[in-house]
């Protein structure tokens, strides 16, 4: 924005609410212990590249200890508890997350790079809500429609991504625990800290040791967990590439599997849409969490007659977005989570230019240190461009146009993915017409990137299988 007199003053959230330890061990059988091989890795603040902590790298022996502890808890303690007692533990966790919300939010923004307003208003409250919702299921499972006396599966190995570290931990742990399973959770290498704080909360809540174990490490730790014969159920959220590897790796083992993988969602704007609202939705669809969202509305499909209007309003709006310090309460766009991810985004954006699409970004000062990428819009995109086909997982929007609803459907569905889609129109019948035809697990109409523990989430085709949330989500953890 021009006009210096209207510049915002910095409004950073206080960082001292959270104490980051210099070193973190693994959370095994109810306590923090050093890894067997003594190896560790550094987790960075992606906004400054400053090291935050040394975190234990779990090896095969640690994975085995974790699974054994979880198996033990499944057979002796947690697995034997009546649902009403499991429920009370989960309610405790939900309340504790809410009590320590500020701490979780600051820690999440520090370790992940996402704006504090998002971690504060989305990640942390939704994580608490997820435990609260599932707590209530624990003693009502016989009414869930999965037959009489539905049983848990056993030890769940859960591997989660770095884009919503705490929220994904909640999405995995809450339904697994409510249904009576025990868990070994593997947070992402670049964002282990909130899962470890959650482990602390779980320990304080008094869950039997071994009910939840948190093992930190890189992809090799996750692979060990997936391979471990004591794990009866795998739940993975992450890239389609790794999801396929996991599905292939457990072939023939009889392990149960749910996968929540990548996406390349279409966000479809019709000419009768409330355009200002749609522009906000487009921004929220692709620039929320720096575009590190599997269900991000990364392909914008605008009806041709309003394409110019929408694009000019979108560009005007993007010029007002504030990129910078994730802890600043006025920040809209935070840091890219890692150098590796920044390289991937940079590479795909270069491919977009090389293939002939037109790149645009608002005037935007990037901080000197840390990993940053400006909000970027590509126009003149064709369906065969890599930026229209591949998941970029960054703040990069590809814009296409359409003339008829049928064309919008054909273009929207022209992807191996099928996680989500958006529809913008004032016409209710058209919303439902589109919703019937879009091949995706979640359809947002006149909104985008909205989540709720009661609302099942998950994909079609190569976006994975299984649902998280709602009654449907319980199936992933029940032997029905």
């Amino acid at each position: 924005m021009a006009g210096g007199s209207w510049e915002y003053a910095p409004a950073p959230e206080a960082r001292d609410i959270v104490t980051i330890r210099r070193e973190y061990g693994l959370f095994l059988a109810g306590e923090f212990v050093p890894p067997a091989a003594g190896e560790s890795f550094t987790t960075l603040n992606p906004a400054s590249e400053e090291p935050l902590a040394q975190v234990a790298a779990a090896g095969a022996a640690d994975v085995d200890r974790a699974v054994t502890a979880a198996r033990d808890a499944f057979e002796r303690t947690w697995g034997q508890l009546p649902g009403r007692e499991r429920a009370k533990y989960l309610y405790r966790i939900a309340r504790a997350i809410a009590e320590r919300a500020r701490e979780f939010a600051v820690l999440e923004s520090l370790d992940n790079g996402k704006p504090i307003k998002e971690s504060r208003d989305v990640d942390v409250p939704l994580a608490a809500a997820h435990f609260f919702y599932h707590a209530g299921w624990a003693d009502k499972l016989e009414y869930a429609g999965y037959g009489p006396g539905p049983r848990p599966i056993g030890v769940a190995g859960q591997v989660i991504p770095w884009n919503f570290p705490l929220l994904m931990a909640a999405w995995k742990l809450a339904p697994a625990l409510a249904t009576g399973n025990t868990c070994v959770l593997k947070p992402a290498e670049t964002t282990p800290l909130t899962a470890l704080l959650l482990a602390e909360v779980i320990a304080e809540a008094g869950l039997p040791p071994g009910t939840v174990n948190v093992i930190t490490g890189d992809g090799s730790t996750g692979a060990e967990l997936v391979r471990h014969p004591g794990v009866a159920k795998i739940a993975f959220t992450g890239s389609t590439e790794v999801g396929k590897q996991i599905q292939a790796a457990i072939a023939g083992t009889g392990k149960r599997l749910t996968l929540e993988l990548g996406g390349k969602a279409a966000n479809v704007v019709f000419d009768d849409a409330p355009l200002d609202q749609a522009v906000e939705g487009i921004v929220n669809g692709i620039f929320f969490n720096q575009g590190h969202v599997c269900c991000a509305g990364s392909r914008l499909l605008i009806q041709e007659s309003v394409a110019d209007t929408v694009l000019s309003r979108l560009k005007r709006r993007l010029a007002t977005l504030r990129l910078g310090d994730p802890l600043d309460k006025n920040t809209d766009i935070g840091a890219i989570n890692s150098r590796e991810q920044l390289d991937k985004i940079t590479g795909l954006v270069a491919a977009g230019e090389a293939e002939g699409a037109q790149r645009w970004s608002p005037p935007c000062q990037l901080p000197a240190k840390g990993f940053w990428f400006p909000p970027t819009v590509f126009t003149g995109v064709s369906q065969s461009h890599r930026i229209a086909r591949e998941e970029i997982f960054g703040p990069v929007l590809s814009v296409l146009t359409f003339r008829t609803p049928e064309e919008a459907v054909a273009k929207a569905n022209n992807t191996p993915y099928g996680l989500s889609a958006g529809v913008w129109t004032e016409k209710g019948s058209r919303i439902l017409w589109m919703a019937q035809r879009l091949r995706a697990g979640v359809i947002w109409a006149n909104t985008y990137n909205r989540f709720d523990p009661a609302s099942p989430f998950g994909g079609y085709t190569e976006s994975g299988f299984g649902r998280e949330g709602g009654r449907a989500g319980l199936a992933a953890y029940l032997d029905a």
């Binding site: 599905q247 072939a251 709720d452 085709t461």
Partner: protein, 310 residues
Amino acid sequence: MPDRARPTPTPRGRTKGPDVRPPVPDGTRVDVRKTYKLFIGGAFPRSESGRSYPATGPDGTVLAHAARASRKDARDAVVAARKAVPGWSGATAYNRGQVLYRVAELLEGRAAQFTAECVQGEGVSWAGAERTVTAAIDRWVWYAGWPDKVAQVAGSANPVAGPYFNFSVPEPTGVVAVVAPAAPSLLGLVSVLAPVIATGNAAVVVASEAAPLPAVTLAEVLATSDVPPGVVNILTGYTAELAPVLAAHMDVNAIDLTGVAAGGRAELERLAARNVKRVFAADGDWEAPPGTARMLAFLEIKTVWHPIGI
């Protein structure tokens, strides 16, 4: 040339069941034999490979030469199934239920023929075959009632914290490959096929390799009962040759490996991971109530956030 045992069960040693041979003394009329072919896109082609294999009874008697489908036939079947998906999944649930009920009506009329084929192919008694055939017809009737109910059982209205009507509905997964169990040849086939199409999917079925003939006769029923072409495609041939093609096929959305022996499933599951196929396999007592698992395995839950406002 002496008449080999054809689809006419020998009455020797049997006390119950009709003799389906025409009441004509031997030698006065030569019976008309059937060519058992594939069923792809509503048509009955031979294998494009020109191959066949002997379908025999348990005693080695050759009953017929069934088509031995090739990899190309399997791919053609997937194309036909994909083409059928929009129409079948887009039909009203009421319509799908009626079409499936019509299939049951025609099955009933062919009960004796199916029983005879099962007796010959599996070496079971007439009474035993008759029991599985009637169970298969009853199962088809059971599934015919599901299309307009499964969304009510598997769907939900979700009370979200915001001004949205949020609901979840099950939708068909798409093209489902099915490896039918070896036996009971008709009941096993019906048990794995009916849930796939009742839920609006299109199926590519690999019939029982050992007893393929009832599957071809079922195809004849489907072809004359308003099931749109391509909704069911039936391949006869070698499971080991066909199953990997379907498991690896990028335009197949899900696969049911029930008819593959447990030891053979791992490699197929690995191939299925190429495009994140939904994989299902369940062994069990075919005469027990089937439950909803086979339907739910081939449904996707779609959740819609519809705005509420004035």
